[in-house]
Amino acid sequence: MRTNQDLQGAFALLEEQADAYGAPEITTHPAKPVRVRRERGHLRRNVLAVAVTAAVVGGGIYAATSMRSSGDEARPAGPPPVLGPTPSPVKLQFTFTVGPVAGVTVDYHGVYRKEQSADIMWDGDGGVYAGLDVYTPGGFDPKQAMTHGTKVTVGTHVGYWDPTHHDAGETVDGKDLFRPTLTWQYGRNSWATVQFEPTNVASPNLLDKAITLAETIRTGGASTLRLPFKIGYLPPDLVPELAYVSQSHPGSGRIGLSDGVRPDDSTLGGLSIEAMENITGSETTCSKRVSVQGTTACFRNLHKYADEPGSKVVGRELSFETPARMVTITIDRSHLAMYSDDDMVKVARSLIFAPSLADYNTWYDARTVLPH
């Protein structure tokens, strides 16, 4: 068993690493604080992340403490859209239920085209966490589970237990991360998984926990997914592609919509809308400002590498905030030629917000949030 000294020693080691790296150089130039850009590899933060972006100032290269793109960057034209059939809408409700299981907390999370998900926590057991994914028929390839897992029984269904499941590229300090995973077939060509966090690799009785949980899962019913806003206007032909929420602090909800144009980034659809509790304060640097919902909203281009404005533009974003919430409307690169800035403003102005982002019960049934 370790002691307080071990924890303090770890903190001290991190302090040493901080000192060795050196604090960022901050100066105010010309109208906002900037830091001298250091040479380093790509920091692959997602294009949606709050990020530090570079701008050439006065012949020197600096990183502006703002979001994503330099302040005067123009809206790119985007590629000509390649039209195809409008996809079928994803139903904005959960079609599975879990439990109840004593000592287990279920946080229903999201619905996607191929799966629905929930976050699972076992109480009083040293912190055991897992993600539950219930896939639609044909939405999951069980080959890896069958190859690497041990055959088990989940109720009357066949399953596979892989305590050393590893997803390519998941490493810490050069070492592979393992996510113990139970995969089982709950119906014809239909699979579900319970995947534990890497911190739980050595936790006892994981398989028993997973099977007990899995045996309580019922599919085919319906339960409500809630979103913290309603949408009064959308460009035509957009249908739901996904929606997900975080019910715990900070509360947030996002809906992604697709049309007949294949999005570059299928994780969000062609146009997405997110509202999130405002816990990080104001960010006002932007390439263009408009008035939305009584406040100033900002347009920004999104870059493939958020800290490299010269990298490929992968989308465009309109964001605004109030003391209570931050709202973001995003289109991906393949829709730059489809939806204008005016379209995005029209969507933003049409939003109606739930009374409290901190209270999931005040949010709207996701099936009622679309204008059509």
């Binding site: 068993m1 370790r2 002691t3 307080n4 071990d6 924890l7 303090q8 020693g9 770890a10 903190f11 001290a12 080691l13 991190l14 302090e15 690493q17 901080a18 000192d19 790296y21 604090a23 960022p24 901050i26 105010t28 906002k32 604080p33 830091r35 920091l43 933060r45 997602n46 949606l48 992340a49 709050v50 990020a51 530090v52 990183a63 403490t65 999370h109 999201g110 998900s117 040293g126 912190g127 590229g169 998941e170 810490v172 300090d173 991360l177 966090e197 911190t199 997900y244 975080s246 602090h249 947030s252 994780t267 969000l268 999130m276 816990i279 990080t280 304060g281 104001s282 006002t284 800290d307």
Partner: protein
């Protein structure tokens, strides 16, 4: 206090705090720079706070947790790369091992540990920063300590002046 004066006095300690919080200097650099940028833009309000440094550190914690929560379902995010630590002594190797295990903790658990045992905050103060109940702080701390295999009975709060 002028923004420039605050940055001059606190830049290093803010960066240290951010590295301890997120475990990775490059990410910490981005977080500190982002937060200071926003603090500068709102300096009339931030600089007038009763405890400016506590306010800015709270912004850093919220940035760290909020950023990660926003991303975790949309894109696989590379775990922080830890700087190589010499392992010529058992003591150093053990510290590096704890650092590696800190990196695997859920962000909220890690933030609780850092605020509680690095910053020396009370449960109530941590709850205020994270926007949750004190009982949630205690349960997160308990889980984090169990994950790190640290005995609660031997824990004492050691405030660190940042």
């Amino acid at each position: 206090m002028r923004f420039e004066t605050y940055v001059e006095q606190r830049r290093q300690s803010l960066f240290r705090f951010a590295v301890v919080l997120c475990g990775e200097p490059v990410l910490a650099e981005d977080i500190v720079t982002d937060v200071l940028g926003r603090a500068y833009e709102q300096w009339d309000r931030v600089g007038a706070a009763d405890n400016v440094h506590a306010y800015v550190r709270r912004m850093i914690v919220n940035e760290y947790i909020g950023w990660w929560r926003r991303l975790k379902r949309t894109t696989p995010v590379a775990e922080p790369e830890l700087a190589a630590a010499p392992d010529h002594a058992d003591h150093h190797a053990e510290r590096a091992a704890v650092v590696a295990e800190l990196a695997k903790l859920p962000r909220k658990q890690r933030a609780v540990l850092v605020l509680r045992f690095y910053e020396g905050m009370s449960d109530d103060e941590v709850a205020q920063v994270l926007g949750c109940r004190p009982s949630t702080v205690r349960s997160n701390a308990s889980r984090a300590l169990a994950n790190l295999r640290i005995g609660m009975t031997e824990m004492t709060t050691t405030p660190v002046e940042a």
